[in-house]
Symmetry: none
Subunit: 235 residues, 4 copies
Amino acid sequence: MPSPPRPRTGATGDRSAAAGSDGAGSPAAGRELRARGRRTMGRLLDAGVEVFASRGYHAARVDDIVKVAQTSHGTFYLYFANKEDLFRALAERVASEMRDLAADLPPLGDDAAGVEGLRAWLARFADLYARYGPVIRAWTEAEIGGSEFRRLGAGVLTDFSRVFAQRLIGAAPPGVDPAVAALAVVAMIERANYYVLSGQVRVTSGAMVDTLAAVTHAALFGAAVPAPTGMTNRG
Amino acid sequence: MPSPPRPRTGATGDRSAAAGSDGAGSPAAGRELRARGRRTMGRLLDAGVEVFASRGYHAARVDDIVKVAQTSHGTFYLYFANKEDLFRALAERVASEMRDLAADLPPLGDDAAGVEGLRAWLARFADLYARYGPVIRAWTEAEIGGSEFRRLGAGVLTDFSRVFAQRLIGAAPPGVDPAVAALAVVAMIERANYYVLSGQVRVTSGAMVDTLAAVTHAALFGAAVPAPTGMTNRG
Amino acid sequence: MPSPPRPRTGATGDRSAAAGSDGAGSPAAGRELRARGRRTMGRLLDAGVEVFASRGYHAARVDDIVKVAQTSHGTFYLYFANKEDLFRALAERVASEMRDLAADLPPLGDDAAGVEGLRAWLARFADLYARYGPVIRAWTEAEIGGSEFRRLGAGVLTDFSRVFAQRLIGAAPPGVDPAVAALAVVAMIERANYYVLSGQVRVTSGAMVDTLAAVTHAALFGAAVPAPTGMTNRG
Amino acid sequence: MPSPPRPRTGATGDRSAAAGSDGAGSPAAGRELRARGRRTMGRLLDAGVEVFASRGYHAARVDDIVKVAQTSHGTFYLYFANKEDLFRALAERVASEMRDLAADLPPLGDDAAGVEGLRAWLARFADLYARYGPVIRAWTEAEIGGSEFRRLGAGVLTDFSRVFAQRLIGAAPPGVDPAVAALAVVAMIERANYYVLSGQVRVTSGAMVDTLAAVTHAALFGAAVPAPTGMTNRG
DNA sequence: GATGAATGAGAATTCATTCAT
DNA sequence: GATGAATGAATTCTCATTCAT
């Protein structure tokens, strides 16, 4: 009878499944959840993603979340201490998946296989971003002021930077700090996905993934490798 | 190279000009402002930058702004219809300066002069970002939902992308759309500056500028050019 | 003949029916109200009548209404979008009752029965006015500017005028438009009741009813009929 | 060098002249006004009539009045202590003219000359109402609560009622109190003019005057007298 | 487990009135 | 005499959170 405190399900892949599993709300943390309770909590988490997406973190009202989740106001507080608590549950899940993804960055050799591996990895990143983008964006908002989310976000950022920095060691030209260059690459990947997702630019996710692979590779090895035939614009 | 004058001063310096011409708030739009009025309005705009910086757009209360500007609640509404109106005034000013900067992107030849020109330009970008970063960050927040700021932001983004795309034509490897690659580069530049400014990473602005120049150049011309001696880490 | 039940009771009596069907306030419009909710809403409506009576529409603060209804500020907005919304609910109820009353105007033959029928009807009008006078008075205030209430008020006025005009056809002397004469009669009835209710004049409601019956009859048939013995001054 | 305290110009007839003369605002009461000052004050009074007309008493802001009068906020308080003070000045002027008019009510014999005299008098009433209607309407609003205007209004009402009651003595049928009947007649005259002026009904002022004359005469003498040829619908 | 109702602190906004020039 | 600017008390309205059923 495991009472799961802060599960960290890991890279689940499927949202509905992930959300369905209990993402740890404070009030619910101690309690054991039956099937019905888990479903309600899942609905609330999913609703959170949706509402944070459309209104942003601060503008999101508990009322909105509750309406989307088709449940009552009171029920919300049965599972989460407040809006921040729900956000934390989401953020931790995202952070966890992000770190898992970071750990999976392939070797990135200076050959076609390397490019392809990078591209595949970027595609996974794009998927993750598409799924949790709203949370990630809200992150930036929530970060302001409060330090808890800031730390969590900085941790994820550091993880990504570190793995890229490792690939850059030796490859980066003299005078360029691999750590800083890695940071720049991560910045590019994150923000480019944001541009695509926010609909501010008219580019498909596939085209952006291909381009990010090419540019990142160029940044790493000093020479752009053309995308293999048939890979362009799958998005 | 002088380190960028910090927000307050910078904003104040521009303001008298800006407020006199474009960025006036709605209620003040119709009226002629005397010296005293212009000063008050300027204080409010500066206070806006400061408060948006520390609390973000949504969390910022008119009361905070008023306190920082050392004026009364009622006075605020003498110059701006509401918080959004003040933000609009700021955003328009930033957008305008951003576009001016975009128009100034140098030719970027594949030589030391090209890299140096790019680096100088990126330094200017970093300065601008340091001055108006809060507004730019808040932009992302304010964008959610409302379409007005979204359009303004998209316009600036498009301007930047366009100038970079022009430099990429011919240089970009086959299979990479210059427009998309330019977008990726802009994403990198913007977000990297954000990382630095938000204090999430321990990197100086100078180091980041140098790195961005190197990486961007590599992305453009397929080969990383080492940073000239003595240029690293000025920030 | 029983003296008219006084405002609070009357309004309360009607309310449960009214609130359940037509006059619901906007925010509550979509929701199903349980017993408790209906009671609270009723208290707010009654409080509205009372406060509009003592302070008039514009001077009435939501705070006053809430205090009288013995509920909280937030609760008010659970049931009504704002003061106007509550007023609308009341105005619609009044308009509806007014129109019902208009439809009930008896034939008014040129005999004692006719006068008596008219007097009874005027007594009902006076009762209605006593109960909802505050709302009716506020109506005039609220009318200014906004067209919604104006239309509602004009509709009621038209209804009353029409029924009186019908009674006047044939009876009105040549050269007098029955429609206009009817309007004059309605004006008299309305305003006279207002004078009585507002306490500006020292006349009982009963005396005014008798007089209005006599004068109206004279206007209709060209000859005043004396009030039957014992009918005068029941006020 | 007469410093005119509370002039009471009497039945001036022409608004611009009336408003131009100093209607006595508290702060200005003690001071002597030069030509310029009198003009400014006049503009403020006229603006008051206009604004009270369009927004009603309570909703009228000093700001509106000042804008219409094309003067500044500060100037207003040079002439009037506050909005109420300006309203008092207007109300007193209206009350004064009203009482003058009441005193002029002709004998009203039961013949053609009587009807014609009544009609002429009603036409004057209509003119007065057209000119000061806004003030009279606002009166009702302002009356609520405060007793000062109430008393003033009641006084005017009493004056009108008294003169009509005098004409009714002897004419009124047994069982009808002349004082009450007079009140009813006054109510009719006042409210009918309001209906016409507020635009709630599509009747010309002239038609209403004719009708009021006929109905009032019928109420007085128990028989409707046809309107003389050619008199109908002058408005 | 769930929910409708209630609450009240907090934020936005308005506007009469005062003041310095 | 006139005016632009400033002020802050008064009000409206929102929304996170608690409670009784």
